[in-house]
Point group: C2
C-alpha cells in the first residue's frame, strides 16, 4: 500500500505491520510493505500470490484492510517464555493460529526459541504433536499394520525410500509413503521418484495404488499432513536450532497424520549430520519412542553411519539411476545404498511380522536378489500412472583431476551447490555424478565427476563455480 | 527478484531468504521477495528505499546478489538459548551484527526471547548496555553535571519534558534533552515541541543552543544514539514482552550515549501502564540504579501515579497548548501536568546541587510562578531557530454527550485512535481536546471533547469512528 494512503495513516500501519485483509467472507493476514511511487494509487493494495488465492479476489475487487484482531494464543507463548509449562488447549490454540497465518516470523521465532530455551517435557511434546496432527488432514486405512520410515536429517544421495517400499510391499505389507520435494538440496525423494513415475497423486489416487500394490511413493504436498510443520520448519532452519521436542513433534505428527501404525526411524550419526553423537541419538530415540507410543505407534530406531554421502548420483535423475541399479541388481550398483535400504526394510519386515527378529535384513536382501522388489517397484510405478525412463542431460562434462594422487576429501556442501548450479532439481536430468570415492587413486586428467546440465548456460555456471572452488573434490599427491 | 532468475535458482534463494547485495565497496543485507510477472526482467532486482540508499546505486547499476556470509555471532545467541551466559565480547559481536542489519526478524526475535526466557543478570545487562552505547554516536560535554530525565512507558498527554527542561535550565543546570517522534501514538515529545520551535537540529546546532541556554528540547533522530535500540524495540513491541534487562539497556544506553551524568527516571505505575505494581517498580528501579552506577551515572527514581492520562490535549499542537498554559501560569492550566513536571524538575534540581534534598519541588514551582521558566523556555525556542505559535486546526467539531450524567470512563486507546484518525501527528494541529474529565457532571448536548482536523476527509474518518464507538467517553446516568 502507499505510505500516504488513508488506511495506513489512520490505522497507523507502518512497514512490516501485520494487516488483516477481508474480502467477503474470506480473510488473510499479510505483512505490509509500503511504496511511495505511483506503482499503486492511494486507494490500492498490491497482493502476494498467496493472498490473491486465499482471498479469492480479482483485480479491481474491494478489499478491507485493518489491524488484525489480537492473537489470544500469544499470551500462552508469553507465559511459556516466562517459564510456565503450556497445556494441551494452549498448544492447540497456538498451532491453530500458526496455521491460520496469524503469527508473524517474529512470533514464530519467539515460540520456537522459548521451546528450546526451556525444553518441552514429555507431556508438552505429546500435546504439541497432537495439536500438529489435529490442524491438518488425517489419513485412515482399513488395512493393518501401516508401515512407514523416516530418516532424521538425511544424507546427500541417501535415496533408500523407493527401494525400501518396493521390498516391504513385495511381502504384501502396506506402506503408503509420502515424501517431500527439495527445499535447499539438489533433490528430494519426491523429485527423484518423479523421474520414474508420476508422484503428484491426490488422496483417492493414493488409495487406489495402495489398494492394488500395498505400497506407493508419492509427493506429500498434495495431502495436507501437518501443515504447521511446514511453517515452523522454515523458522527452525533460519535459526539453525533443533529443539528435541520440536523435532519429535515434527517427525511424528506427519507419520501419525498419515495413519502409520509401525515406524522405522533412521538416525544417521556423524560429525556433519544432524545428530552428532551416539548419546544424543539414544536420547532422541527414547523420546521418539515414548511420544510415538502415546499415539499407539510402534517404533524401531536404527542408528546408522552418517559420516559420508551415499551413492554416486546427486540430482533427481542421477539419484534415480542409483536406485534402479540397486533394484535391478546391477553389478556396479552402490553396495552402501543397498545395505542401508536392506537394514531399514528388514526392520520393517520384522515389525510387520513377516519374519522373526534378526532375520529381516537377509529377508530384504533376498527380496532384492530374486527380483521380487524390482517387479513390485515396476508395478507400483505403473499403478501411479506409468513407469518412466529418467531423462539424460544434453550436456555432460567431466571435471578432471589436476594431478595424480588420492581422493582425500569431497565437500558435500559444495558438491550439492555444484549440482544446483547445473540446474538440479528444476532440471530433472541435471546434477553431478561422482566417478570417484574417498580413497580412490586417480591420475592427472582422469574424471573425478561428470557435470550433467540441460542448457549451456547452466553448464557454464557450474563450470565457473568449479574453477573458483578447486577443493570440491580434493586430490593429494601420495 | 524473479523466481526464475539464475541467481535465485543457483543460489537456492527462496522467498524470505536473506540476501547479501554488493555494489562496489558497499553492502546491504536484504530480505528476498520474488515476483513471477514481468515487473522485473530475469536479471533485475527491485530494491527498497533503504537499500538504494545504503548501496548508493542508481537505476541500471550492477548489483551482486549472493547468500550472506554466515553470521558468527548467532552461535552466541544459540549458546544463550541453551542456557549459557554471554560475555561482553559476545554481546558486542551480537549488537554490532544487529546494527549492520545481519539479523533477520527471526534472529532478533530469538535473541530477545532468549534474554527474557532466561533473564539477563547484572553483568550481562551492563555488558549489553555498553555494547549498545559503543555501536552508536556518543556525545561529550565540557560542562558538568549533565542532567537528563526519562519516563518508562509514558502516559498519553504526559508532556512534562519541555516544562522540566525550562525549569532546570533556568537555574543554569545543563540539560541537553533529545526526544522521539510518535511511532504509534498521536504525538511524541519531539512532535509537540516542533509546533513551538524547530527540533531537527544537528549536533553542532545542539551544542550552540546548550552553550547559550543550558538546555534544549530537540529530536534525537538526527543524532545516532543507540541505533541498536531502535531495531530491538520494534521486535519487543511486536512480541509485547518487556524483559527487564532489555528495558534497562534500552533506556540507559541512550542516556549514557548522550553524555548524561545525572538522571531522573519516572516510573508511572498503574493497571494499564507499562509497570503494573509498586513491587515491580522497586525491582526495576534497583536494576536501573545499579547499571547506571556501573557507568558513573547517578540516578533518582520517581514512582508516579500511572492510573490516568495527563492534560487535555491529544495531538502535537493541542499538547503544546497544555505545556504553554503551565509555563505561562494560565489559570485554567492542568494542575496534574504542572505538579508532575515540578516533581521531576525538583529531583533534578536536588541532583544538580541547586537546593537541598526535599526542597526541589517547591523550588521548581517557584521557578514557574515567577516566570523564570517561561522566560527560559522562550529563549531556548529562539536559540533552536525561533519560537512558533502552534497551529490551530481549520475544522473543529464537538462530540456531545448523548444524555445527562457522570463521565464514568475515558478509553485511552480509543481516544488516541480518534486523534490519529483526525490526522495527528502528521497534521500538527489535529487531534482531540478533552473538555471533561473522569467524574465530571455533564448534561445532554454538552461537549465531551472537540475534534480538531485540517481536512474535511480526516474529520469524517474521526466522526465515523466516534459514531461507531459510543464508549470512547462513557457517560452514565446518575
Amino acid at each position: 500500500m502507499r505510505t500516504d494512503c488513508h488506511v495506513c495513516r489512520s490505522e497507523g500501519l507502518t512497514p512490516q505491520s501485520r494487516v488483516l485483509l477481508r474480502a467477503g467472507e474470506r480473510e488473510a493476514i499479510a505483512t505490509l510493505h509500503q511504496v511511495e511511487s505511483d506503482l499503486l494509487a492511494s486507494d490500492q493494495a498490491g497482493l502476494s500470490e498467496i493472498a490473491w488465492e486465499r482471498l479469492g479476489v480479482d483485480e479491481g475487487d474491494l478489499v478491507y484492510a485493518s489491524h488484525p484482531r489480537p492473537v489470544e494464543s500469544l499470551s500462552a507463548v508469553r507465559r511459556r517464555i516466562y517459564g510456565n509449562r503450556v497445556d494441551e488447549p494452549s498448544l492447540q490454540a497456538i498451532i491453530t493460529d500458526v496455521v491460520k497465518g496469524s503469527y508473524s516470523d517474529v512470533h514464530l521465532s519467539s515460540f520456537i526459541t522459548a521451546c528450546a530455551a526451556f525444553p518441552l517435557d514429555l507431556d508438552e511434546t505429546i500435546a504439541l504433536t497432537k495439536a500438529m496432527v489435529d490442524v491438518g488432514e488425517r489419513l485412515t486405512w482399513s488395512q493393518t499394520p501401516i508401515l512407514d520410515k523416516h530418516s532424521v536429517g538425511g544424507l546427500p544421495g541417501n535415496r533408500t525410500t523407493p527401494i525400501v517400499v518396493a521390498i516391504v510391499a513385495a511381502h504384501g505389507l502396506t506402506m503408503p509413503k509420502t515424501s517431500s520435494r527439495a527445499i535447499t538440496s539438489p533433490a528430494g525423494t519426491a523429485d527423484t521418484m518423479e523421474t520414474l513415475a508420476p508422484v503428484d497423486l491426490d488422496l483417492p489416487a493414493i488409495r487406489r495404488v495402495v489398494e492394488k500394490e500395498a505400497g506407493c511413493i508419492v509427493w506429500g504436498g498434495a495431502v495436507r499432513l501437518s501443515p504447521a510443520d511446514d511453517i515452523l520448519i522454515r523458522i527452525e532452519r533460519a535459526l539453525d536450532i533443533d529443539s528435541e521436542g520440536q523435532l519429535v513433534a515434527s517427525v511424528l505428527s506427519k507419520k501419525i497424520a498419515a495413519g502409520s501404525s509401525h515406524l522405522v526411524l533412521d538416525i544417521p550419526v556423524g560429525p556433519t549430520a544432524k545428530v552428532r553423537s551416539a548419546d544424543a541419538a539414544r536420547e532422541l530415540a527414547s523420546r521418539l519412542s515414548d511420544v510415538a507410543g502415546a499415539f499407539g505407534v510402534q517404533t524401531r530406531i536404527i542408528v546408522s553411519d552418517g559420516t559420508e554421502p551415499v551413492g554416486e548420483g546427486i540430482g533427481p535423475a542421477l539419484e534415480a539411476r542409483d536406485v534402479l541399479a540397486v533394484l535391478q541388481g546391477n553389478p556396479d550398483s552402490s553396495l552402501v545404498l543397498r545395505d542401508r535400504a536392506c537394514t531399514l526394510a528388514g526392520a520393517l519386515l520384522e515389525l510387520g511380522g513377516v519374519c522373526e527378529t534378526g532375520r529381516g535384513q537377509s529377508f530384504a536382501l533376498a527380496t532384492l536378489n530374486d527380483g521380487r522388489a524390482w517387479a513390485k517397484f515396476q508395478r507400483i510405478c505403473e499403478a501411479q500412472g506409468g513407469m518412466r525412463v529418467p531423462p539424460v542431460a544434453k550436456h555432460q562434462y567431466p571435471l578432471v583431476s589436476p594431478g595424480s594422487g588420492l581422493v582425500a576429501g569431497i565437500d558435500n556442501r559444495k558438491i550439492a551447490r555444484l549440482a544446483k548450479l547445473a540446474g538440479a532439481p528444476e532440471s530433472k536430468a541435471a546434477g553431478v555424478y561422482l566417478t570417484t570415492h574417498l580413497g580412490t587413486r586417480v591420475s592427472a586428467g582422469e574424471p573425478l565427476c561428470i557435470l550433467h546440465a540441460e542448457t549451456p548456460g547452466a553448464l557454464h555456471y557450474a563450470l565457473d563455480y568449479a574453477a573458483a572452488n578447486p577443493d570440491i573434490i580434493e586430490v593429494t599427491a601420495e
